[in-house]
C-alpha cells in the first residue's frame, strides 16, 4: 500500500457567525477576499507551495458554494492520481449520522480518511486565516525537535491575546503552558490554529478525547491541554510574516485594506509564492472615459464608469456614472448604479444598489462594528436609499 509523509486536514466547517450577514448563505472559507480571492485560497495555495498534495476539507455549514469552488482542487494544482483534495462532509454510518461537534471531533470522524493515506504526520489547518506559509519549514522543525505535536505561533498585540490560544514556552521552544482565550494572558505568543501531529499521537489523542464525555472536542480547549498534562512533547514553531484571523467584520475589513497599503502586508504579486484561485471566465475590466480610480484593486470583468478610491473590487463589479465608491470592499458581481455614494462599506456578492443611494452616511453616537456598513449578498437596495454607517442590511425571512 502506498503512503504519504504528510497530509493536511483543513477545517472549513464553521459558520463564522461573527462575520454576520457575510456568512448567512455561505461558509466563511468561501467568503470573497482581496478582490478576486476567497479566504480558503490562502490555505490551499499554502499547501500547493509546501508540496503537500493531499488535503481533506471538512465542511458542514452551507457547503454548496464551497464544495463547487474547491472541486477536485485543480485550481490549486492539487488534483493528483493518488491524493488530491477531498471534501469530507458529515455522513451516515452503519448506525446513524452525526454532525461535527468540535474541531477534534471533526477529525475524529474522518480517521478512516487519514488511515487510508497512513501518513507519518498530519497537518491540521483552518480555512479562515489570511497568510502565506511554507508548511514544509514547520515540518522540518517538527522533525528536528523530535516533536510529537508542533503548534505554529505568531506574536500578537497584548489586546488581541485574550481572543486567542496563548502559550508559554521554554528557551528550546517547548511548550510549557497553553491557555485558550485567557482573560489574563501570560504572553503574546498566540496559536495560529496550525498544528503538526505525529499521526500515532493524534490517533490516540482523538480516541481519548472522544471517550471524555466532559470534552467539547476542541483542539485548543481540550486536546492540547490534555496532551500537555500528559507530558507529550509539544513545541512552538515561530512563524514570521503576515497572519490575520478575519473572524469579525472589523478584522475582515482591516485585512482587506492592508492589501492596499503595501508595507508589512501580503504580496499577492510575488511570482514565486503564488496565490491560486478558481476563476470564472470574464472579460478585461473596462474603465470609462469619466472614471477615476486611485489606490484600489480592481478585478476582471469590472466596469467602472464612476469614481473609485481606496477600495477593493471583486470580479464583475459595476460602478455606474457619477457613483463614488470610497474605502469600501465590493464583492463579486455587485452593481452600484448611477450617482450612488458608498463609503466604508462591505457590499456582498450579487447585490444591487439602485441609483442615488447613499451607503455609510455619517451618523452620530455609538457606531456598531467601527462604523463599517455591511450589505448582505443578493440584497437589492432601492433607489434613493440612505443607510447610516455601522448598519447591517439583510433580509429577514
Amino acid at each position: 500500500m502506498l503512503k504519504k509523509e504528510c497530509i493536511a486536514m483543513l477545517l472549513a466547517g464553521g459558520q463564522g457567525s461573527r462575520l454576520g450577514c457575510l456568512t448567512r448563505n455561505i461558509a466563511k472559507p468561501a467568503v470573497s477576499f482581496g478582490g478576486k480571492y476567497r479566504i480558503i485560497d490562502f490555505s490551499l495555495s499554502n499547501c500547493t507551495n509546501s508540496n503537500i498534495d493531499t488535503v481533506g476539507v471538512l465542511t458542514q455549514y452551507k457547503p454548496f458554494l464551497l464544495n463547487s469552488y474547491i472541486g477536485m482542487g485543480s485550481a490549486w494544482d492539487l488534483d493528483n492520481t493518488f491524493g488530491g483534495v477531498h471534501i469530507l462532509p458529515p455522513y451516515v454510518g452503519e448506525t446513524q449520522g452525526s454532525w461535527y461537534k468540535g474541531t477534534a471531533n471533526a477529525i475524529y470522524q474522518n480517521m478512516d480518511f487519514i488511515h487510508h493515506y497512513n501518513p507519518d504526520y498530519v497537518l491540521i489547518i483552518s480555512g479562515d486565516h489570511i497568510y502565506k506559509m511554507d508548511y514544509s519549514a514547520m515540518l522540518k522543525f517538527h522533525k528536528e525537535k523530535e516533536s510529537e505535536v508542533t503548534i505554529s505561533t505568531v506574536e500578537v498585540a497584548w489586546e488581541e491575546a485574550p481572543r486567542l490560544g496563548i502559550m508559554t514556552v521554554d528557551e528550546n521552544s517547548r511548550i510549557l503552558k497553553f491557555t485558550e482565550k485567557p482573560s489574563e494572558p501570560e504572553s503574546k505568543l498566540a496559536s495560529m490554529g496550525v498544528y503538526i501531529f505525529d499521526w500515532s499521537v493524534l490517533k490516540d489523542a482523538l480516541l481519548e478525547d472522544e471517550g471524555d464525555l466532559e470534552s467539547d472536542n476542541d483542539f485548543g480547549k481540550n486536546v492540547i491541554p490534555r496532551l500537555l498534562r500528559q507530558g507529550t512533547k509539544l513545541f512552538a514553531f515561530k512563524f514570521q510574516g503576515y497572519w490575520r484571523d478575519v473572524g469579525t467584520i472589523e478584522s475582515y475589513y482591516d485585512a482587506n485594506m492592508e492589501l492596499l497599503n503595501g508595507a508589512n502586508s501580503l504580496d499577492i504579486f510575488d511570482p514565486e509564492f503564488r496565490i491560486f484561485s478558481n476563476e470564472g471566465i470574464l472579460s478585461p475590466q473596462f474603465v470609462g472615459s469619466k472614471a477615476r480610480i486611485e489606490n484600489s484593486l480592481v478585478s476582471n470583468g469590472c466596469t467602472i464608469l464612476g469614481e473609485v478610491s481606496n477600495s477593493i473590487l471583486a470580479p464583475g463589479v459595476y460602478v455606474g456614472e457619477g457613483a463614488k465608491v470610497k474605502d469600501s470592499i465590493i464583492l463579486h458581481h455587485t452593481k452600484i448604479h448611477e450617482n450612488c455614494f458608498v463609503q466604508r462599506a462591505i457590499v456582498g456578492e450579487n447585490a444591487e444598489i439602485m441609483s442615488q443611494s447613499c451607503i455609510g452616511v455619517q451618523a452620530k453616537g455609538h457606531l456598531e462594528q467601527a462604523g463599517i456598513t455591511v450589505v448582505q449578498d443578493h440584497q437589492v437596495i432601492p433607489q434613493g436609499s440612505v443607510i447610516k454607517e455601522g448598519r447591517n442590511v439583510y433580509r429577514t425571512r
Binding site: 484561485s277 478585461p284 473596462f286 474603465v287 480610480i293 486611485e294 478585478s299
Partner: protein, 373 residues
C-alpha cells in the same frame, strides 16, 4: 447538437500583421487584453453545443498548444470527442491567401472519418465575433442543404474588399460565388461570405477524395466547381464580425471594443468568450493612476495616465507615463514619464524612462516581442 463537429483553420502564417504574426500563427495573435484570435472561433463553436472540434495548426504550433492545453478552459477535455489538434501541411508561401486548403484536411482525414456526426461547421480564425450557430444549423437541416454559407450584407466597400460575393436567389439558394476585387465599386448592399460554412460530413469526405491530388486547392474552389449539382444555401448573420487583415485592421478592431454595443455583444452576452485562465492578482491602481476609456486585464500595476488603450495582464505603467490610443501586451514595462501614442507593443517589451514613441492612427507603431527601447 452532438451531430455536428467543428473544424477551424488556424494555420495560415501571415505577413499582414507585420511582426505580430511572425512567431505565431494568426490564431494565436493576442487580442482585446486577454484573448487570442482563436478564442472567438472556438468559443462560438463550444457555445453552440459543439463538443468535438478539430483545429488545423501550423508548424509554429507552440503558442497555440500553450494557450489551449487539453481544451480544459473550453470544456473540451472529453473522453468522447473533445479537442483535436490537426497539424496542417507545410506551406511554402507565407503570403498565400487560401483559407480552407483541402490538403490540410486531407492530412487529417481520420478526424472526419472516425466521427458519426452529420454535419461539420468550418471556420477560419482571423475574425472577432461572438455568435451562436444553432439557428444556422436549424436552417441547414430544414433546407436539407448540402452546404450552407454564412454571409453578411453591407454596402461598405471596405468590408467587402477581398471577400467572396454570393449571388442568392429565392429561397436563399446560392447560384454564384464571385471574388470581390478592391477596385470594384458598388452602390448597393451585397451579401458577402464571412468564411464560415456548414457542410455535410460525408460530402466533405467525397470532396476531399475527389480533389486531393490537386496541389493547394481551396475548399471554396472545389465548391464553385460543383455549385450547380449541390444544394448550396446562404444564411444571413447580422452579428458583429470584425475582420483582421492588416495591422490597421488589428488596431481598429481593438479600438472597436470601446464602442459599448460591440463590447456588450462580444463580452457581455449570454455566451461567453472562453480563454485560457491564468491566475493573476487584481489590477492595482496607485494613487497617481489616471485611467480613462480603457480595457485592462488583471495583474497590472498602474501609476500613470492611460487613455483609449488596451492593456494585457501584468503590464506595469510607472508614474508620469502618458499612454494614449495604444495596445500593450502582457508583461510590458513602461518606465517613468514615458509617452506612448498609437503604439502596439508585443509581449515583454520594455520602454525606458522618459522615452517617447508615437505612431499615427493609420499607421500604428509596432514593437516586436522583447524589444527594449
Amino acid at each position: 447538437m452532438h451531430s455536428v463537429i467543428g473544424l477551424i483553420f488556424g494555420n495560415t502564417r501571415s505577413d499582414i500583421l507585420q511582426g505580430l504574426a511572425q512567431d505565431r500563427p494568426i490564431a494565436a495573435v493576442p487580442f482585446g487584453g486577454r484573448y487570442r484570435l482563436l478564442d472567438f472561433a472556438l468559443s462560438s463553436m463550444v457555445n453552440s453545443g459543439i463538443r468535438t472540434v478539430g483545429l488545423v495548426t501550423p508548424h509554429h504550433y507552440r503558442p497555440v498548444l500553450d494557450h489551449l492545453g487539453a481544451g480544459k478552459d473550453f470544456s473540451l477535455d472529453r473522453k468522447a470527442g473533445g479537442l483535436f489538434i490537426l497539424p496542417g501541411a507545410i506551406h511554402g508561401l507565407i503570403g498565400d491567401k487560401s483559407k480552407f486548403r483541402i490538403k490540410d484536411i486531407c492530412l487529417n482525414i481520420e478526424f472526419l472519418q472516425k466521427d458519426f456526426s452529420e454535419n461539420v461547421v468550418i471556420s477560419y480564425c482571423n475574425q472577432v465575433y461572438n455568435i451562436n450557430y444553432r439557428d444556422a444549423l436549424e436552417f441547414h437541416n430544414q433546407k436539407q442543404a448540402d452546404i450552407t454559407l454564412i454571409y453578411k450584407e453591407t454596402d461598405d466597400p471596405l468590408d467587402m474588399s477581398g471577400r467572396v460575393i454570393l449571388y442568392i436567389g429565392k429561397d436563399q439558394h446560392v447560384h454564384k460565388l464571385q471574388e470581390k476585387y478592391e477596385d470594384d465599386p458598388t452602390e448597393q448592399a451585397q451579401p458577402y461570405f464571412v468564411d464560415m460554412l456548414i457542410i455535410r460530413r460525408t460530402l466533405l469526405l467525397d470532396i476531399i477524395q475527389g480533389y486531393k491530388c490537386i496541389e493547394n486547392i481551396d475548399l471554396l474552389d472545389a465548391l464553385r466547381d460543383n455549385l450547380t449539382t449541390l444544394k448550396v444555401y446562404g444564411y444571413n448573420f447580422t452579428a458583429y464580425i470584425g475582420r483582421i487583415d492588416s495591422i490597421k485592421d488589428y488596431f481598429d478592431r481593438n479600438m472597436d471594443l470601446f464602442k459599448p454595443e460591440i463590447r456588450k455583444e462580444l463580452f457581455l452576452s449570454r455566451d461567453r468568450i472562453h480563454t485560457k485562465i491564468r491566475d493573476n492578482p487584481p489590477t492595482k491602481y496607485g494613487s497617481k493612476a489616471k485611467v480613462s476609456n480603457s480595457l485592462l486585464a488583471s495583474g497590472c500595476c498602474i501609476d500613470g495616465e492611460v487613455e483609449n488603450s488596451i492593456l494585457s495582464r501584468g503590464v506595469v505603467i510607472k508614474p508620469g507615463c502618458m499612454i494614449k490610443n495604444s495596445i500593450i501586451m502582457q508583461k510590458c514595462i513602461i518606465g517613468k514619464n514615458a509617452v506612448l501614442e498609437n503604439v502596439i507593443l508585443d509581449k515583454f517589451v520594455e520602454v525606458n524612462e522618459g522615452n517617447v514613441l508615437k505612431g499615427s492612427e493609420n499607421n500604428p507603431l509596432v514593437l516586436y516581442k522583447k524589444t527594449v527601447v
